[in-house]
């Protein structure tokens, strides 16, 4: 169905205008407003100890969440793709749940369990471990919303990879761990990298869930996104824009990195091909 040139051009124009008005133009304004007074805004913002603290806290939380998500993500992907156990289908469906749960609901759920009057919160507090209104709560909330990102990258690649090479390695005497390190890990390397980059972007930017569990105490549990909100509402728009610019730059850099890496890695092994999930037809097996 080749459209005539003018239909094609009209569609293209509509799409470009829509995307520019909805995303391109607004996002470019964050840079414009942040640099409205030259570098002065940034100098003032970074002289503020609360800003520095918020940035450090955000970075620390993001690093912890990336580590947790990567270990959990790789492990659960291997289990879900390669092993059979009761309740696997249910687990599969539930793993996607965090993507469509409201951040505020995530925060509320964590408060109900780990808050002072929550199911485990009282006992944990007596043991001297505070979760809600403290950094561990921020890590939990962020890990919750980031949970599916690594898994969704690895599962299609693992599924497509099959077990030929792993079985060959095992039959030649490789241990399970050797097989994983020498065969499986290199094959899923890029999927893990994408997952990590996306998790990083998401972890740096989480707002709603963190707002509920952190208590938003300036200099103690206030992350960068919470600081942006507070400063904007306190009419310190320069600081708000400076921090927002920093966050936006990192997240856009993450997206650009993934887009570029993806269009460069041309090996079909890493292609999460859609047909891989249905049974192969005989012609495909023969081919």
């Amino acid at each position: 169905m080749d459209s005539s040139p003018w239909v094609r051009r009209t569609l293209r124009a509509v799409v470009v205008v829509y995307l520019v008005l909805l995303v391109g133009w607004p996002v470019s304004l964050v840079a414009k407003n942040a640099f409205a007074d030259g570098l002065e805004t940034f100098q003032r913002a970074f002289a503020d100890p609360s800003v520095l603290f918020a940035l450090q806290l955000t970075a620390a939380v993001a690093v912890q969440v990336v580590l947790l998500s990567t270990v959990f993500g790789v492990g659960i992907s291997l289990l879900v793709v390669r092993y059979d156990f009761p309740g696997k289908a249910l687990l599969n469906a539930l793993l996607d749940l965090p993507l469509s749960v409201s951040p505020i609901v995530v925060g509320l759920a964590l408060v109900l369990v780990y808050g002072k009057n929550g199911w485990f919160g009282g006992a944990l507090e007596e043991a001297g471990f505070r979760v809600i209104f403290a950094p561990p709560g921020i890590v939990l909330a962020t890990a919750f919303v980031c949970l599916p990102l690594v898994i969704r990258e690895i599962v299609p690649v693992l599924t497509e990879l099959g077990t030929d090479e792993e079985l060959a390695a095992t039959s030649l005497g490789a241990s399970r761990f050797q097989t994983f390190r020498r065969i499986t890990l290199p094959a899923i390397k890029w999927a893990v990298v994408y997952g990590v980059v996306l998790t990083l972007a998401r972890a740096l930017g989480e707002f709603g869930a963190v707002k509920v569990v952190s208590g938003n105490f300036e200099g103690r549990t206030q992350t960068s996104t919470l600081l942006v909100e507070q400063r904007y509402q306190d009419f310190e728009q320069g600081t708000a824009y400076a921090v927002a610019f920093l966050l936006a730059s990192v997240s856009v850099a993450c997206i650009v990195a993934v887009t570029l890496l993806r269009s460069d890695d041309a090996a079909p092994a890493r292609r999460p091909a859609r047909p891989a999930t249905r049974p192969a037809t005989p012609s495909e097996v023969d081919a």
């Binding site: 169905m1 969704r152 990879l161």
Partner: protein, 295 residues
């Protein structure tokens, strides 16, 4: 977790491009496992399930338990309280409207990205993924900069219902595009050409050949858009003003209930949103099975 449908935005660029599907077939190998669980993998599964439960399952269960603690009348009272009912109605109607926009615009964007070639196309690819990665509070801030009181366009939607619509549109942009794109890229163009050679008009070909093939992907993307829209919070905080009875959405109600020390009411509203999320996931799973069977 089948990658067939309803993907997180940003499946591979190669998958999006018009590259031929043949190499993927060639690589087909032995089927995956299932291996039996060994002691080590069983332990791993145990640890993973423990972490997943502590992080997500038990807390979400706590929301439902907290809701049911007050019984059915308390739930109904919380959800039908005028301010809450207004917030939920606004959330659902705006989310439906935005989903409709996404079904049309998302399919159109996917179409242009797959079938058209022009300089700067890769830039558009990046633009589509931005809403997924940009912190939501920054999204609200930048929309306010363009469509707020001092915006260069002279359009001011701040503190109106249009602001809710705009914020939803921004955060849900990638879902339909990214779910339709790979399906469209793998669509066999021979069938379209056959239809055309048999005298079908372009519109007929689109309606009778292309659209049915895209329908499951569009539905899945629409479901994700809807789920994301009704749960949005961050992008709205600065933009909509959270005016009671006018621009307040469901998630804002949950937060204010919680801050006022009314966790039961907060949990009741949260359960409504949670139920919708579960429905969406169920819809997508059903669609995936259907597509897999047909495939």
């Amino acid at each position: 977790m089948s990658p067939t449908l309803a993907e997180r935005p940003g499946r591979t660029a190669r998958e999006r491009g018009p590259a031929p599907a043949a190499p993927a077939r060639r690589r087909r190998r032995t089927p995956n496992g299932p291996y039996r669980l060994t002691a080590t993998s069983g332990l791993g599964l145990g640890v993973a399930l423990l972490w997943f439960s502590a992080l997500a399952l038990v807390p979400l269960l706590a929301v439902l338990v907290e809701t049911s603690a007050g019984g059915w009348p308390a739930f109904v009272a919380a959800v039908t309280q005028p301010q809450t009912a207004a917030a939920l109605t606004l959330t659902v109607t705006q989310a439906l409207a935005v989903t409709a926009v996404n079904v049309v615009m998302g399919t159109l964007v996917a179409w242009v990205l797959v079938r058209d070639r022009f300089p700067g196309k890769r830039l558009l690819e990046v633009l589509i993924d931005i809403p997924f990665a940009l912190p939501t509070i920054v999204a609200g801030l930048v929309l306010l900069a363009l469509y707020g009181p001092s915006g260069p366009l002279g359009i001011d939607v701040a503190n109106t219902r249009a602001a809710v619509f705009l914020a939803f549109c921004f955060v849900t942009l990638p879902f339909v595009v990214r779910s339709v794109q790979p399906v469209l890229a793998e669509l066999d163009r021979d069938v379209e050409e056959a239809a055309a050679s048999l005298g079908a008009t372009r519109f007929t070909t689109f309606r009778r050949v292309v659209l049915p093939a895209l329908a499951p992907a569009i539905t899945a993307g629409a479901a994700l858009s809807f789920a994301r829209a009704i749960s949005e919070y961050g992008a709205l905080v600065l933009l909509s003003g959270n005016l009671p009875m006018r621009t307040e959405v469901g998630s804002v109600r949950i937060l204010s209930y919680l801050e006022n020390g009314q966790p039961e009411q907060a949990a009741a509203v949260a359960s409504v949103l949670l139920l919708v999320s579960l429905l969406v996931i169920a819809t997508i799973q059903l669609l995936q099975r259907k597509v897999a069977r047909r495939g």
